[in-house]
Symmetry: C2
């Protein structure tokens, strides 16, 4: 099967008629027709075998994840997904793999009304590069740079389970089978918080999505906003779904692993955002609208730097390094 057959069979669909996509797959360029007073939010992520996923990952979940990490960036900007392009390097054309991959990819795309409008396929070491497009009313995008001293710091959903799964899959810890299954789903098929991001427009002063680990990612907000933060490590550690493993007389793992997973886990694809304390009810309302839980884990301060404390307010000195795509 050649390049054009491959695109036709797995990645070409009829264009929707809602007007945002004027021309889809099949010409030199796709055409988007933005609505008046809308800006186009754009993000691009590249996933590489061995770095972002295991060679034996189910291609269905890989298709899901490849788009999910991009939708997560749109969510962090408060944008509504419109469309995406897919560039795909494959060692060879293996149809069962393509079938599963495109199913996982397009199922998530359909769930968000996000249309595949073009891209590229070529032979090469497996590499998936998606560029996603969303729309956001001009001037209303959530940025990293708007956090102010006194703002609450919030995160959505759960934290640390993806890292917990990674620890188990790489043989460093043992997890009960059902816990592993749940944690692995968080690692391999994250849920982009698209509805929450849009609901937070006009409420959050800053936002970003958590891909490399909470503390490192929060650092981007702090630097962009010129502020610091105090984080309640104990409140944060409660956000792991698998918390039963760490508590009570039957705890299987120690607090250090719990903190590593929740504070610097990576691959969470939750939103972290800031909002003034006066808007706590509005934040709760946005969370309810989006059917997405949120939790308050700290506060922005004028003093630069990021300080960790336990529930008693005692400083924690531990170092929790985030993931660097060129580091360890």
């Amino acid at each position: 099967m050649g390049e054009f057959d491959l695109i036709a069979r797995y990645f070409t669909r009829p264009a929707r008629a809602d007007g945002a996509v004027a021309l889809g797959v099949g010409d030199d360029c796709a055409l988007l027709a933005p609505r008046p007073r809308m800006q186009l939010a754009i993000s691009s992520d590249m996933l590489v075998e061995g770095r972002h996923f295991f060679a034996d990952v189910d291609p269905h979940t890989l298709g899901h994840k490849a788009l999910a990490v991009n939708l997560s960036d749109l969510a962090a900007s408060g944008a509504r997904p419109l469309a995406f392009t897919l560039a795909l390097a494959l060692p060879r054309v293996y149809e069962p793999w393509l079938q599963r991959f495109s199913e996982g990819l397009l199922r998530l795309a359909d769930a968000h009304g996000c249309e595949l409008i073009g891209g590229d396929t070529t032979q090469g070491p497996l590499n998936i590069c998606i560029t996603v497009f969303g729309e956001v009313p001009a001037g209303q995008a959530l940025l990293r740079s708007g956090a102010r001293a006194g703002d609450d710091i919030w995160v959505s959903g759960t934290l640390g389970d993806a890292r917990l799964a990674l620890e188990a899959l790489q043989g460093r810890i043992d997890l009960p089978a059902d816990t592993l299954a749940g944690a692995r789903a968080r690692l391999e098929a994250p849920t982009p918080r698209v509805a929450l991001g849009q609901a937070l427009r006009g409420i959050a002063t800053s936002a970003l999505d958590l891909s490399d680990g909470l503390l490192g990612d929060l650092g981007h907000i702090l630097r962009a906003s010129g502020v610091g933060a105090e984080i309640d490590a104990d409140e944060t550690s409660k956000l792991i779904a698998a918390r039963a493993l760490f508590t009570g007389a039957t705890a299987r793992f120690d607090m250090e692993l719990l903190r590593q997973c929740t504070l610097a886990g990576g691959d969470d694809y939750e939103l972290a955002f800031t909002a003034p304390p006066a808007l706590r009810e509005a934040v709760a309302g946005a969370a309810a609208t989006a059917a997405t839980p949120v939790a308050r884990i700290g506060r922005i301060s004028a003093e630069p730097g990021l300080r960790l404390a336990d529930a008693q307010g005692r400083p924690l000195a531990g170092r929790y390094a985030s993931f660097d795509h060129f580091g360890g």
Copy 2:
């Protein structure tokens, strides 16, 4: 050097103030602010070592080519370049390479006012994925589907020199040193016909850019438009810059190689387009405006299929297969 230092050092520049780019590198998403009544033309290309370039290619020319092939898609749509994203997988961070690569990339970007607004960097086998954005007045994009029986078929610039260089670099032919240098420049640093594409809006009935070889690429126009074509192979073969090698008593190479290069060479990154004979003067005017030579090489017919003839109108039966990114 980590991922974020790398982006800051080589790929972050101050945003221009002309308004199309509302937010550049450094947030979860970049923001484009399209002008009223403009559509956004989008194209994505992935370049892989060994498939699209040699491992020892000068990174400066590689940076140029990676963007040039994308700008060529905008040209084929008649769009004005605005911005692009760059996703880059690198085996390791080697600063002299990055320096040269970003210089070649950004020099071409600056020449076209095309701003780097975001992307991704990661460790992995060398892979360059660029997604480019241009603007075109709504309804005026050049498409593949508008060719009509009776239209002239035109191509810009020169054809076949990139393939000639490839034949020499892969040791199948010998080229004089100065000819090789010129042909190699066409292979490694193609010139996207951006000005010509915009000048052809309202004149050309269809257009596309030549990346895989003239005949195969023309086939996309024929299928999309539901028409056929007659091509003058001798007229086409005159479009190779290195034609002295094929003519006269001192000819070094045979007609078959000449036809292979010009009809099915690949990597030309010229525009092929169609226009009614009544608009020949308008085509000449557009070519003059864009300072880009164009040549008429055939005619669209109602009868499906693509027919080759020599200067005497005799049919040519040779098969000239275009490049397929999953084929030979």
